[in-house]
């Protein structure tokens, strides 16, 4: 069952075409990696999935993105509801300048949850979900900015989980982190796929190999190849894919 699917997707920044006819689908409860050199369109594609591209002036999208079979670019779609279902974790950890607790509670509060007991429960379960609870349970009221970079990124994941999304988009979530923090996030991603569908953009091919079920290779706005991760890395069908994963360019 595919939870998200793009059909004939084109994206233009003013006159420059950044994505060309992308057809790609993501099965439920899987981890999919988007790889490719800088500027290939993988991050741009990721952002079309929860319409974060709307925020950039001059972006035009044609084609369809189906979420549970419904086109998210249709005019009757509430983009805030969509983003509640399709959450996002960014490249640089970006916790709010608030306490750890308030960071997690921000999303649920935005969506109208005021009951303290419910919020407490959500904060705890989200932090546990992001494998951060044990490290921060005694300092929930302290500023989130006092956490290490890796902890901040897990906090951002917990914050995204707190609104109970179905899909989690991750835009190079470990590129600003040290190796130990990176491996913690990677372990976390693998456990998260039991409950969520994850699409992760990564520069790191080893990472894609370690954590993803599916891998899609982008180049210059085109989707070159997509397949089961092991197959794509062991026996790529396309010459360009082979050149990229064997390190001839990129």
């Amino acid at each position: 069952m595919n939870i998200i699917e793009s059909k004939n997707l084109d994206l233009f920044y003013s006159s420059h075409q950044a994505l060309k006819n992308i057809n790609l689908s993501f099965p439920e409860n899987s981890v999919s990696a988007l790889i490719g050199p800088s500027g290939c369109g993988k991050s741009t594609f990721l952002k079309t999935l929860n319409r974060m591209n709307d925020l950039i002036d001059g972006v035009k999208v044609t084609g369809q993105i189906l979420y549970n079979g419904k086109d998210i670019y249709a005019s009757d779609v509430d983009v805030n509801e969509l983003r509640k279902d399709v959450g996002m974790v960014f490249q640089k950890p970006n916790p709010f300048m608030m306490s750890i607790y308030d960071n997690i509670a921000y999303g649920p509060r935005t969506h109208g949850i005021k009951n303290k007991a419910v919020l407490d429960e959500l904060v705890e379960s989200s932090l546990k979900g992001a494998a951060l609870w044990d490290e921060v349970k005694d300092r929930l009221k302290k500023s989130a900015l006092g956490l290490s970079g890796g902890q901040q990124q897990r906090l951002c994941i917990a914050r995204a989980l707190a609104v109970k999304p179905k899909v989690l988009l991750m835009d190079e979530p470990t590129s600003a982190l040290d190796p130990i923090s990176t491996s913690k996030i990677e372990e976390l991603v693998v456990t998260l796929k039991d409950k969520y569908t994850i699409v992760i953009v990564t520069h790191n091919m080893q990472q894609a190999l370690r954590i993803s079920d599916l891998t899609a290779f982008f180049l210059l706005g085109n989707l070159i190849e997509v397949g089961k991760t092991e197959e794509l890395f062991s026996s790529p069908k396309e010459k360009k894919t082979e050149d990229y994963i064997t390190g001839r360019f990129g």
């Binding site: 805030n80 983003r83 709010f96 608030m98 921000y106 935005t110 969506h111 914050r159």
Partner: protein, 283 residues
């Protein structure tokens, strides 16, 4: 050698400006304290009657102090919401062209001499207030509050705008990605993140309102009444300015004392500002 010479010159020039400030402070204290001693601190600060030239002179400056406080608060009540929401609009919602045009206009407005505000207030606002509220004279606390509110606007907008625009895009994106609307994001993420800058703009506005003399003198009526919204009132600043040219003896000394009180007000405001700035750095 050359380096050292330049270093010494700069140090001296720097010291000169510090010296001026110190001189003014010392001068104010030396010339302001004696009258307070003679009149009595309580009588001076809390006396309700200012009659400096009668046969039985009284030097109570409570009317001036309260007028200054009420005038400042009143101008903040009107000016702050307008300034704050303008800043949010310009920083987050306005098309870039409109924002740029406004920034230029605000820059120009903040450079307008206060006597011009006073003139417009005197010729337009005062008669207007008189007719609308059916008063014998429109020059009043109310008129001065309006003028001060307009005068603090550029400061409030400019400083708030700068700090709102300095909020990293990351924060806003994080909020939007959680499904918050843009308005929710601006008021729950951007504004709190810009909090200390916005507070700074408020304090700067207060400083401007307290220190303003000329514009206020032209629209407030300048009678030493206890403040009341439609009465003619006199601010601390104008109290000094009006009588200085013909004052003598204890009256003159008392004017220095008023200046000293005003000076203390401004020092307190500056102290608050320094604390805010420090917090800003920590955050």
């Amino acid at each position: 050698m050359k380096e050292r010479a330049i270093g010494i010159i700069f140090t001296l020039l720097g010291l000169v400006s510090v010296l001026f400030v110190l001189l003014i402070t010392v001068y104010l204290i030396v010339s302001g304290v004696p009258a307070i001693g003679e009149i009595g601190f309580i009588n001076f600060m809390f006396g309700k009657v200012w009659r400096s030239t009668g046969s039985d002179p009284q030097f109570g400056i409570l009317p001036f102090i309260l007028t200054t406080i009420w005038g400042t608060i009143g101008s903040l009540i009107i000016g702050l919401p307008i300034g704050f929401f303008s800043a949010v609009y310009l920083a987050k919602m306005a098309p870039k062209r409109i924002r740029d045009i406004f920034v230029v206009i605000i820059g120009v407005i903040s450079g307008v001499p206060s006597v011009v505000y006073g003139l417009v207030g005197m010729l337009v606002l005062v008669p207007f207030v008189r007719t609308v509220f059916n008063l014998p004279d429109g020059a009043s606390l109310f008129a001065s509050i309006i003028v001060l509110a307009v005068m603090i606007l550029p400061t409030v907008i400019k400083v708030s705008l700068t700090s709102l625009e300095a909020v990293p895009k990351d924060y806003e994106e994080a909020s939007l990605a959680l499904g918050a609307t843009k308005i929710e994001t601006y008021f729950r993420v951007s504004v709190p993140a810009a909090r200390s800058g916005i507070l700074t703009s408020v304090v700067l506005g207060i400083g401007r309102a307290i220190g303003e003399a000329m514009a206020v003198m032209m629209v407030a009526g300048n009678v030493a009444n206890m403040p009341s919204i439609f009465k003619s009132v006199r601010y601390l600043t104008t109290a000094v300015a009006i009588e200085m040219s013909y004052s003598s003896g204890l009256q003159r000394q008392a004017l220095f004392s008023i200046a000293l009180v005003l000076f203390c007000f401004i020092m307190i405001i500056n102290g608050i500002l320094m604390v805010l700035r420090r917090e800003n750095k920590d955050a």
